[in-house]
Symmetry: C2
Subunit: 364 residues, 2 copies
């Protein structure tokens, strides 16, 4: 059921026809890995994505980009990254001369995604970029254009679209097990600490909607297989403790999809808000909670002839990041367009812009 | 903690000063009951409200109004209602001549609430009316006017505002146990069977929003203690099986309250949708599910220093209806304005009208 298994078998079948992969003669198919340059050594890189590469058979950390040389050297030692493969934000473009690097993984503050994606594409590297893709629609479009012009893959790290329980939920909906879907509720948020770059609109582009509300937005889209035709929302700032001088604290929004499915969502930076969604169909209901976390995802389904609780097939964190990194690796090795490509990321940018606009906020 | 206990002690203290209650000399305080005329012998009357009166020390069924004489006579026998106290919709106004009737309980299709409330007030009877109060704002205003002119109580049967677990949830919010409330999610709906009067806009006024979505709307108001300043929603009809020729099938809406609290809600007639709400505060979260059902209401709370699960203090159905009927009885006996008076019902009418309007639907 996992994407990993399916992609791997496809890779084995198609790999002989591959081109553009460096030095294939020196690797057996089993050994062949996509070699990532990690751009930004923050929490998600150091705590999740890079440990995932250690566990992976298809993904490997080969280079680092950081503004802190000490931190980079320490990390390089742990990951057997040669000193020559440590880059700064200044000499980042030199990755173009480094044939060992296949792709970059961009885990920077949101406002830097566009620049470092475009520079990577210009340097001839594939790009796996964290969500939200960018802080403006224009930037997202430019990222797509740059990767297309360079003939490089661009994947947005929509982890949940590769997570088995979410994938199973999508499948149940597609297979009609819920009958006709009518309505979805979703929420995702947390109580943010002061001092995070996420609270600076210049770096983040927006508040909880762009950071965590995007999970609910994206889930409503992948569950229905539709894009919302109508979106309306409200934003607010309640706490005057100094955190919310730049981005909103709360967002509530409602959407209507072409088939008539409606969805209502919340996100916040001001309270604990366990990530969840509920899908109500004419013949069944399913709920995921937690739906978006790094581990422990659980589905409760009440279908016409069965009710069940399903825990994620995947184990502990960072296994979701293994799946994600390896899916991208498969796209590169098989020359396949990622399911969550730039266009997928761009759509969410446009929808978030509409939600903000309806609430009287200009996105960036 | 229940309203019942508090009201009863108040009643004992204040009863000596009461006026307007018939024949107090013939009853001890313990025996004194408010005697209801039941208007409409449908599911909620026969299955819930009237059995509740049987269990009550303060509420009693004394008369019936029905269009089906046979049904009325059978019911009269069960409730020891004398034959002279069986009315039809034609001779309903004659209740004014019947000193045994203190109040009417109106459980008719929504569009009839206004007429039978106004006729009851004109006949000098207090009114407990099911929700939604009416099918138009104008009707709701006329109901308030008629009851005020007759100096009679008008209570809308917002059962959940008297249900102990909901009351406890409100209290936790008011006491600041959740810190500052930021966001609320709520939903309530069910998969309706063809043929119900609820599917006829002439009788119902609208679809699931007026029937069951009103629980979520009212909950967001009683939890926050605020009225929404902004409301936006979408409606849709997905199923073309003949049920939805007159009212909507789904509604999703979002609200913003003066303090900045946001809320997102769903309702449906096209799917199972367990009634629930979640309140997210800066220092805690609480969830009720089921939140609105006749029994089994449960709260899960995660507060700063404690987490707990609380089941309703009330037992099985129809105990919530006992509380409701007895609360109204207390208002009548103590000459006290009901918490959920006509103005409370009118507010929801106006808010539902706004939600429908935002979705391009004229309420009635």
């Amino acid at each position: 059921m996992t994407s990993t298994r399916r992609d791997f078998s496809r890779f084995l079948g198609a790999s002989i026809a591959l081109s553009g992969f460096p030095s294939p003669a020196f690797q057996t198919q089993e050994e062949r890995k996509v070699r990532y340059c990690i751009v930004g050594l923050g929490r998600i890189s150091l705590g999740h994505f890079m440990p995932a590469c250690k566990m992976s058979q298809r993904s490997q950390v080969i280079a680092l980009v950081s503004g802190h040389r000490d931190k980079a050297e320490k990390t390089a030692t742990e990951y057997n990254v040669p000193a020559k493969n440590i880059y700064s934000y200044q000499n980042y473009d030199e990755i173009g001369d480094n044939k060992d690097i296949d792709a970059v993984y961009i885990a920077l503050p949101n406002s830097m995604h566009a620049e470092y994606t475009i520079r990577a594409a210009n340097a001839g590297k594939h790009v796996l970029c964290e969500k939200p893709m960018a802080t403006t629609v224009r930037d997202a479009q430019n990222m797509i254009g740059a990767c297309r012009a360079a003939n490089k893959k661009l994947m947005i790290a929509y982890r949940c679209q590769y997570e088995p329980t979410n994938v199973h939920a999508i499948q149940l909906v597609r297979d009609g097990k819920l009958g006709k879907v009518q309505a979805i509720e979703s929420a995702n948020g947390f109580n943010i600490k002061a001092g995070e770059w996420r609270l600076d609109k210049k770096l983040a582009g927006g508040g909880p909607l762009m950071d965590v509300g995007i999970y609910s937005l994206n889930a409503c889209r992948y569950l229905t297989g539709e894009d919302p035709e109508h979106l309306e929302g409200y934003t607010s700032i309640i706490d005057d403790d100094g955190r919310f001088t730049s981005v909103e604290e709360n967002v509530s929004w409602t959407m209507k999809f072409p088939s008539g499915i409606v969805a209502s969502c919340n996100t916040t930076y001001g309270a604990d808000m366990s990530g969840f969604y509920r899908v109500h169909g004419s013949q069944g209901t399913l709920e995921l909670e937690p739906a978006f976390s790094y581990e422990g995802i659980q589905m409760k389904a009440k279908l016409q002839n069965e009710s069940f609780i399903e825990d994620s097939e995947q184990g502990k964190d960072p296994s979701q990041f293994v799946t994600e990194a390896d899916y991208m690796a498969g796209c590169i090795l098989d020359n396949k367009e990622p399911k969550t490509n730039g266009e997928e990321g761009l759509k969410d940018m446009k929808f978030m812009e509409q939600i903000y606009k309806s609430a009287g906020i200009k996105m960036s």
